[in-house]
Symmetry: C2
C-alpha cells in the first residue's frame, strides 16, 4: 500500500525514488489505534512522536470552560496531527478520534533526520502546513460569511477533494462517520438545524448521506452553492483546469466535476474502514 502521506505530498511535488521510499517508510513506524471518541492528544501535553493519521478520521477540537466543544479541523488519512511539536511547548487543543483511528507514530528524531537529509521533503511538509492554515482560513469564511446551507456545502466540497487526493472518493462518495451532533460542533450550529439543512441539500438532489457515507450527487451544483474555489488547497499538480467550476478566471482551478482529479490519481488504495 502506498503511503497516504506520500500521495498527499505529491499534490505539491514529485519525489525521486529514494525520497519516495523514505516517505513511504514513515507509515511503517509503530502504530497506535484509538477507539471512537478517544483522545489522541490532549491539550497541554508535549508530544514526542509525530502522529500521522493512517486510517480513520480525527479532529482538532477545543473545549471551553462551559463544556462547549468546537471542532477546528478534520484530519483525514495522510494528515499530520502535531508538527507544531518541533517548536511549541504544548498542544493548544485536543486531537480526538471521530471514528476508530490508527496513527503511525513517527519519532521527532526520525523526522528531523528526514528533513535535514531531503530539502524536497522539507518543502513538501512546509507546503502541507501552509495549506492547513489556508483550510483554517476558509473555515473562518464558512463561519463568518456563509449561511448554514453554504457552510455545509463548502465543507462537503472540501472533504470531497481531500478524499480524492488520497484516492478514497470513488463515485464522489466519501467516508462520513460524523453524527449530526458532531457536525453541529464543527459548524457552530445546533443539531436540529443541521438536520433541517441536510434535508434541504438532500431535497435539492445534491447529496446523499446514509450509513456513514456521503455521496455527492451533483458536485458541480454543490460547488456552485458553496461558491467553492479550490485555489486555497494549492493543488499544484493538477493538470486539468475547468473555468466552469470557478467563478474567477485567474484562480487555480484543479478538480473538475467529472472527476479529472480522480483520473490523475491512479492509486486507488482504499484506506478508510
Amino acid at each position: 500500500m502506498s503511503n497516504v502521506l506520500t500521495m498527499k505530498l505529491e499534490q505539491f511535488t514529485r519525489f525521486s525514488p529514494s525520497e519516495r521510499e523514505r516517505l513511504d517508510d514513515l507509515s511503517n513506524h509503530p502504530r497506535k489505534s484509538f477507539a471512537r471518541g478517544e483522545t489522541i492528544i490532549r491539550e497541554g501535553t508535549k508530544v514526542h512522536n509525530i502522529h500521522l493519521v493512517v486510517c480513520g478520521l480525527a479532529a482538532r477540537s477545543k473545549t471551553l470552560a462551559d463544556g462547549t466543544r468546537q471542532t477546528l479541523a478534520f484530519l483525514v488519512p495522510g494528515d499530520l496531527c502535531d508538527v507544531e511539536v518541533f517548536v511549541l511547548q504544548a498542544m493548544d487543543h485536543d486531537i480526538i478520534a471521530v471514528t476508530d483511528t490508527t496513527c503511525a507514530l513517527i519519532p521527532t528524531k526520525e523526522m528531523e533526520d528526514l528533513l535535514s537529509e531531503f530539502s524536497s521533503i522539507t518543502k513538501a511538509l512546509w507546503w502541507s502546513t501552509m495549506t492547513d492554515s489556508a483550510v483554517l482560513r476558509e473555515r473562518i469564511v464558512d463561519h463568518g460569511s456563509r449561511d448554514a446551507r453554504q457552510h455545509l456545502a463548502h465543507m462537503f466540497c472540501e472533504l470531497l477533494i481531500r478524499y480524492r487526493i488520497i484516492g478514497d472518493a470513488r463515485d464522489n462518495a466519501i467516508p462520513f462517520p460524523l453524527t449530526q451532533e458532531e457536525l453541529a460542533e464543527a459548524t457552530g450550529m445546533s443539531p436540529p438545524h443541521i438536520n433541517r439543512v441536510l434535508q434541504q441539500l438532500r431535497g435539492e438532489g445534491l447529496i446523499e448521506l446514509r450509513g456513514k457515507v456521503l455521496k455527492i450527487l451533483d458536485a458541480e451544483s454543490l460547488m456552485k452553492v458553496a461558491q467553492f474555489q479550490t485555489g486555497y488547497l494549492h493543488l499544484n499538480r493538477t493538470e486539468a483546469r475547468d473555468p466552469e467550476v470557478s467563478g474567477r478566471a485567474d484562480d487555480l482551478v484543479p478538480a473538475s466535476p467529472k472527476g479529472l482529479v480522480q483520473g490523475v490519481i491512479n492509486k486507488v488504495t482504499r484506506v478508510f474502514e
Copy 2:
C-alpha cells in the same frame, strides 16, 4: 529603534547578539507605504519580497463572488504577511491596509540566507507561523462557540496581548483604527449589531473606544467575559503566571492584568502612528 519582529520573536527565544543584529537588519530593507484601504498583496499573485509590517495595521481578507468580504486576521507591526511565498505558487487571499501602513520588503533570497545561517531564527520563524495558525483556530472558536459579546471581548484581549508584546499597549490602551463596518467584516456580524454590543461593553465599564484608540478599562473582567486563555499564543518567555486570569490551572498563563508582561518588555518604542 529595535525591530518589532525581533521583539515578537523574543517571546519565543533569546537571540545572541549576532543573531539579533541580523534580525534587526531585516526592517532596514527598502520600505513601501500603503494608504488606508489599499491592497498590499492581491489574491492570486506570487510575491517575491516578504512583507514585514513595520507600522500601521493590515488585514488578511477574502472577497466572495457576491462582494462580501471576510477579514481573516489582523497583522500588527512585527507580523509577516507572506511567508507562504517560499512554497506556495500564489496568495489565496488579499492583504489590505486598514490604516496607512508601511512594510519592509525582504527579498526571499535574503530570508533564505538568514534561515540557512541561523537555525535559531528558523525555529523562531517556525514558531511564529505556528502561533499564527493557533490564532486562526481561536478565531474559529470565536465564530462558532462564542456569542457576539464574548467574540468581541476575545478579539480585544488578543490584540491587547499582541500589542503588549511589541511594547505598544501603555495603560492597556492600544491602536484601534477599525470602523464598526470593518469590525463587522471581521466578526461576521452586522454593523448595527457591532454598535450595540460595543455599547454594552462600554456600559459594563470594560472598554473605552474613541478616536482610534481602544482602552481596556478592566482587563481582568474582559478576559473573564471572553474566557480568554493565553495558552494558544505560546508566549514562552513570560515569567509571570497568574491563575486569577485563567479558568484552568494547567494552562499556560502569561499576562497578568497588572501589566506584568509590559514590565517584562522594557523596550517601549512607540511604533504606531
